[in-house]
Symmetry: C2
């Protein structure tokens, strides 16, 4: 039977959802970072010739999905559904991208965990036989996010050392039922652990890493419990955008729980995408951070057979500007998907 | 094999997702309407003793899910996932409800089509075997929505005849794999047609019905094409919240397409929930509109064996305040789920 439940929150996918194609787009700043060579396309300027940042992000999202499908020589109407989201109120960006693409559309939102949410839901729909092909997609844009969540860019506010820099980037991944594949895929989604909302009372919106680390620890511990695996079973445990502060906290939390993580085999998309010299404080963030790192460097390493089993665990801070004004703490969530070469 | 694809956008669910339990909450105004007797709980006042409307809506959402689970004598940790959303930026309401419930959480957003989106995704996950039990949930609150999308309530702005009144209400439905059921359920989700984003250029934010009707017509026509069914195959075709203006347009559009709808067997949740005397102009709207009508009157009629096959098609207007300020037209979407007694 497809979709084997493994404990409380984990679903094993014995047939698996094949990663048929992937694509990532990023902006100049991201391209100047350590992963610059892996992006399919680099924006020449953040507005992409559009009148607003939101419209530019929508075009980036749409074009990234199209490029992903082109690699598989597919048209949008040959795919059963688009699952995805972004950070802008009411998923403005992905709504507009979905309008241009004309694909059946399920809008998803778990903040910066949205790419993992889309991969998890999409892979389970493929595994169960209800979908043959789905695209999981997520995007973020520094300028559209900064003015929505923080302050006008023109203000030039100072940044704290624990703050993170929203990645301008998008990633799209085509997940396909294995029986539809004509060639051997670089990887399969083999397992999914869904996260619960965790909130330990952090209120500092300039320290998302601290808010999200407990959710990451919770999901990772649940995953190990459900699967009887240990960190050593993974080539790489890759968190979404904890940044340097959150990743350090995750190491502490997992050590406390008796499941210490190997620093050599644990990393974070927000730490990987920028170099320290780029002055992004604790690292990158945004839905587009894990989406663009996964759909560039990580899938590239799978294609080169340098990675065999990766746990991608994207983390999301489920705050908004209203909840902050109302004095609420920051609820967070983390979803984990396991990618395997075989 | 579970999940039989039927044409372009439709998935038949031969095993089906059983509707094990449902619950709906509404406020005083909704309770004074024609469906007043069907709601499980009526709020004594809109703030529910909370400090803000958003916190009240979050409590309403959370308590509606709990009440739904209590009917099935289940605790939240016996359910595999919560799928749901609301209208507030970044799903603030459902995030907070999910925090209290502690269930694995997939946040969804397709505006007022969110309940149908959650039912569609949830039913497919159950059909495919990846989930045993899921809760689909959606909510809206007049006061939290009005100030976010329109203007401060205190302003007392005039309303146009085509405008709709956001329902203060929530609905939750527990979908269960048939082999886990001990009793015969009142209904099963038997078929799902996912919608695409449609935009015919409507810009009038006080006429959502006109913006959403083309999306409804598109999904309904696709459903009939995919399934070889006609409107006569349904006891009831129930749209989400087109209101009187949109429902009238849907009749016109379907007649033009050679698939006229029977007015006796076609209705709209936004039209049903308020009487004309309640001065809500074109009718009700909001994620909570279709969610609360489905999880009160409609499931009540299934339980009484007065309905046998219903197509619930919730419609969503995918605008936000930024897209309106930027002069964008209103993209819309409609998802359809078929509920059957057997």
């Amino acid at each position: 039977m497809p979709g084997t439940r493994m404990g409380r929150a984990t679903v094993g996918l014995p047939r698996g959802a094949a990663v048929e194609a992937w694509s990532a787009t990023a902006a100049q700043k991201e391209a100047e970072g350590p992963l610059g060579g892996y992006f399919d396309r680099v924006l020449s300027e953040d507005l992409m010739g559009e009148k607003t940042w939101e419209m530019a992000e929508a075009r980036m999202s749409m074009e990234t999905v199209r490029r992903c499908l082109e690699k598989a020589r597919l048209q949008p109407d040959q795919v059963d559904a688009l699952l995805g989201g972004d950070l802008i109120n009411q998923l403005m960006v992905t709504n507009l991208a979905a309008r241009d693409l004309g694909m059946p559309f399920l809008g998803l939102y778990n903040a910066c965990a949205t790419m993992a949410e889309a991969l998890a839901a999409g892979a389970m729909l493929v595994e169960g036989g209800c979908m043959g092909r789905v695209v999981a997609a997520a995007s973020s844009h520094f300028s559209s996010a900064e003015r929505q969540y923080r302050a006008p860019l023109e203000m030039g506010g100072q940044r704290t050392p624990s703050s993170q820099w929203t990645v301008t980037g998008a990633g799209a991944m085509l997940l396909t039922a294995p029986d539809l594949m004509e060639t051997k895929p670089a990887a399969y989604v083999r397992c999914v652990t869904l996260g619960r909302v965790v909130d330990l009372g952090v209120r500092d919106t300039t320290n998302m890493g601290a808010a999200m680390a407990p959710a990451a620890a919770e999901t990772l511990q649940q995953h190990f419990t459900d699967t009887n695996r240990t960190p050593a079973d993974y080539d790489l445990i890759l968190t979404g955008d904890l940044g340097r502060v959150g990743l350090s906290l995750l190491h502490e939390l997992m050590a406390e729980r008796g499941m210490p993580l190997d620093p050599e085999r644990t990393s974070d998309c927000g730490v990987r995408i920028f170099s320290e010299a780029q002055e992004v404080e604790a690292g990158g963030s945004g839905c587009g951070c894990s989406a663009s790192v996964l759909c560039s460097e990580i899938m590239g390493l799978f294609a080169e057979k340098k990675l065999h089993r990766v746990a991608l665990m994207a983390t999301g801070a489920l705050l908004n500007s209203i909840s902050v004004f109302q004095g609420e703490t920051i609820p967070s969530i983390a979803h984990l998907v396991v990618l395997e070469a075989e």
